[in-house]
């Protein structure tokens, strides 16, 4: 037998293993899907019964849902078992299970290659030495233990609940949610009609007349009419009386023995013990009154950090500013009454705010914030300065200050303790792009001579001989004027 035949046989074994595993996985998924089918079918039947009064019983619900679900699993399993498995995948499965380091797959690929280098031929020869293992050794098809998923368990519970609902309908009667059941009408001698008081509690649950929904939906029929009452269509008086008495309300709604009465008359038994219990509870609670405050300072601070809108939170020590307040403003700048109380109480303060333990504010080391930017240059932190043109310009907002922030590398809130509302420093930066100005261009050719003064004119620099010439000219002119 050649190596190709051996590899084909090994491929078949690997494909069988993969198919077997696929079928198992598919069945596991199909169980979940089947439970979903049970839920869908049961819900549908329940809706049909509630909305349209279609007669469905527990037997019908169980029969349909379980039979459909049971049919679904073998269909899915059959579909999975007929799928094709690629050759490489099947051989890789054998390689993996027998720890052959891809020898079978590699040999299969190299056998199909047009040119075989010495190393390729050596690899094929190496695979030939291991091929008997692939043909003989047992392969495991079980990859993982089957366990129903959480979704499957949830569907199972929902399905069981739905079936229980059906069962309860069978035993207690129809739920009167959507279809109003008219109460039997009694015609009094005087012409006034009064609704006949119904006694659902007193009826035996096994009464076949009451458990049948069809009969309950036709209360005016022959079986539900009182003896002596007229058969056939209702008379005019009966119609009028139905309008008066609010026909269509449920029997329980108009019942004289309303259930609400029972609820409205609470028993006085045990009331005497309630204050005692409350007292005991209060006593128990009193020593640990401050416990929630001391247990949750971090959470409280986190809430404060997340939003500035903490006003009206009860014991929250957050900001009482508007919700639009910035993160910095919401931290420590505003002191509420609770905070002042806490500051007065030294013991609580120590427990509550560990960060202010030694000589001022200490950084929260657990805060996951970006490390402080130690770049001393002017810029935009770690990001590139969009206005970088070598001239510097406005720098980013100062996030931290002090030696501690530089050494520890954590940002510290910039605030001064003890001063209420110390304000905040904010540097705003606005990036202004140059915009072209829309002006009409001047036409130099048609420009008229200037009508106004020209303003200051610079005196041209004259050469010495020219200066002397000018001076001589003006002196001669002046002497002429002064001459009598």
């Amino acid at each position: 037998m050649s190596l190709r035949d051996d590899l084909s046989a090994i491929e078949q074994r690997g494909a069988d293993v993969i198919r077997g595993r696929k079928v198992r996985a598919t069945v596991a998924r199909a169980v979940d899907e089947a439970l979903g089918i049970v839920v869908v079918v049961a819900s549908g039947l329940l809706l049909l019964r509630l909305l349209f009064n279609v007669e469905t019983t527990i037997g019908i619900a169980c029969g349909w849902s379980i039979s459909l679900a049971a049919l679904w699993i073998p269909i899915r399993a059959a579909g999975a078992s007929f799928g094709s498995v690629r050759r490489n995948k099947a051989l890789l499965e054998v390689d993996r299970q027998l720890e052959l380091r891809d020898r079978m797959t590699t040999a299969s690929e190299f056998l199909e290659s047009d040119t075989q280098t010495p190393f390729m031929q050596a690899a094929i020869a190496d695979a030939t030495r291991h091929v008997h293992r692939g043909r003989t050794e047992t392969l495991s098809a079980v990859a993982e233990t089957w366990a129903m998923s959480q979704r499957g368990w949830a569907l199972l519970v929902v399905g069981l609940v739905l079936l229980l609902v059906f069962t309860s309908f069978e035993t207690t009667g129809s739920p009167e949610l959507g279809v109003p059941t008219p109460s039997p009408i009694t015609v009094a001698e005087g012409g006034d009609t009064v609704p006949e008081p119904t006694e659902p509690e007193s009826r035996p649950p096994s009464d076949p007349e009451e458990t049948t929904p069809v009969e309950r939906t036709k209360p005016t029929g022959a079986s539900s009419a009182r003896p002596g009452q007229e058969q056939g269509p209702p008379t005019e008086e009966v119609k009028r009386s139905r309008g008066k008495t609010g026909s269509g309300r449920s029997a329980e709604a108009v019942s004289a023995t309303g259930k609400g009465d029972a609820r409205g008359t609470p028993s006085t038994q045990g009331q005497a013990t309630k204050p005692a219990q409350d007292k005991a509870k209060k006593k128990k609670k009193k020593p640990s009154k401050k416990k929630p405050d001391t247990q949750d300072p971090d959470r409280k601070r986190k809430q404060e950090d997340e939003s500035g809108a903490t006003s009206g939170r009860g014991v929250s020590s957050g900001s009482n500013k508007s919700p639009a307040a910035s993160e910095w403003a919401s931290k420590d700048q505003v002191t509420s009454d609770e905070e002042e109380d806490l500051e007065d109480d030294e013991e609580v303060d120590d427990e509550f705010d560990e960060s202010e333990a030694r000589g001022g504010l200490q950084p929260h080391l657990r805060d996951r914030r970006p490390p402080v930017n130690r770049d001393l240059g002017i810029g935009f932190g770690n990001a590139k300065n969009p206005d970088a043109n070598g001239r510097g310009g406005a720098s980013e907002m100062k996030k931290s200050r002090g030696v501690a922030s530089l050494v520890l590398g954590v940002p510290l809130p910039d605030h001064v303790k003890g001063r209420p509302n110390p304000g905040k420093t904010k540097v705003t930066q606005e990036r202004v792009e140059p915009q072209p100005e829309s002006t009409a261009s001047a036409d130099a050719a048609h420009r008229k001579p200037r009508a106004t003064t020209t303003g200051h004119l610079t005196r041209p620099e004259l050469l010495p001989w020219m200066r002397d010439l000018v001076r001589a000219y003006y002196e001669a002119l002046r002497s002429k004027r002064n001459r009598p």
């Binding site: 490489n88 499965e93 891809d102 010495p118 050596a122 690899a123």
Partner: protein, 336 residues
């Protein structure tokens, strides 16, 4: 008949490879105690023509390991101690004015320590990026351009750099382009407890241990040719590609962890490194083709310096090794 002859040739080459590898490794072991992974990594890099970045705290034997390799292989070895004031000309070489016969002055090129076979770039992150970048051309092109002169570097050429992960003051992190040129980034850990006795015996006595030269440059070049002749099946190559692509955020194989925490994934050099390292591993394991396991075995060393964690990942404490673990878990060979 021809087949049997070819198979015999391949087996002989593989045997020679294994024998030479064992010879060099044993010689290095005379000097270095433990650190098997690091020894294997530097040997693999030397045998495939790659460069290695050794990272570890001081005192773990990084420099000594490379020195031992330089002693075990009889090739030209140079060491560059990188300092902040070092200039590119200090490692590449420069033109100097020399006085010739008869007082004639002439400009002559004086090669730097980079012109060597095995270069130990000690504490490479202490040099400025300008000087670090002087290595780029040498590491990738195997040549140097100084002025109007181009110098071909002699094979085997291998750069082994060391850096200290804790002393970051006054250091310059390597640029991504340079990190990508390293085949491996090996992280050295503390020695095992049982290794301490041997370390102390060797280093505190009077005996000065040195490795002897058991190989040479031409043999290393021959071994490289043998290693590169190892074929890679298509399914293994596909697996290496998928591993590399899976480290790239928003790629088709990327996991949610990669998409959320990785800023930059591996380049195709990562896939090259996976296959080259896999070839050495296959041949040392007595096989003649690379398997998926060979590719996966070196994934951490090959990919960890090529995966950049973004800000969110750093804040969440995600490491490149963690990302690679998730990629290895997500990308399985049988799924190809």
């Amino acid at each position: 008949m021809q087949n049997a002859k070819d198979v015999a040739i391949a087996e002989e080459q593989a045997d020679q490879f294994r024998e030479a590898h064992a010879r060099i490794k044993n010689e290095i072991r005379k000097v270095i105690v433990g650190q098997e992974a690091a020894i294997d990594a530097v040997l693999v890099a030397l045998l495939v023509g790659g460069h290695v970045m050794l990272e570890g705290v001081p005192g773990l034997g990084k420099t000594m390991l490379v020195r031992a390799l330089g002693e075990a292989v009889d090739i030209e070895f140079s060491r560059i101690q990188f300092t902040p004031d070092m200039m590119p000309a200090d490692i590449q070489g420069t033109n100097v004015l020399v006085e010739g016969d008869g007082g004639v002055h002439d400009v002559k090129f004086q090669p730097g320590p980079l012109v060597s076979n095995l270069v130990l770039a000690d504490e490479i992150n202490r040099a400025t990026p300008k000087t670090q970048s002087a290595l780029l051309e040498a590491m990738q092109e195997r040549q140097l351009s100084v002025g109007n002169r181009t110098i071909r570097l002699e094979e085997p050429f291998c750069v082994m750099a060391t850096q200290n992960p804790v002393e970051q003051e006054g250091t310059y992190p390597l640029p991504e382009a340079q990190l990508d040129r390293f085949l491996f980034k090996v992280v050295l850990g503390y020695p095992e407890i049982e290794d301490y006795n041997a370390i102390l015996d060797r280093t505190t006595g009077t005996e000065d241990r040195h490795a002897s030269a058991v190989s040479n440059g031409p043999e290393i070049v021959t071994l490289r040719q043998t290693a590169r002749a190892v074929p890679v099946p298509q399914h293994v190559q596909d697996h290496a590609i998928r591993l590399v692509v899976a480290t790239q955020p928003n790629s088709i194989h990327a996991t949610s962890m990669v998409n959320e925490n990785v800023l930059l994934g591996s380049s195709p050099r990562g896939a090259q490194g996976l296959l080259l390292a896999g070839k050495i591993r296959a041949i040392l394991d007595g096989r003649f083709a690379v398997s998926s396991d060979d590719v996966r075995a070196n994934a951490h060393e090959v990919l960890r310096h090529r995966v950049m964690i973004n800000f969110q990942g750093q804040a969440d404490g995600v490491t490149p090794d963690g990302v690679i673990d998730s990629v290895l878990e997500h990308v399985q060979p049988a799924a190809s």
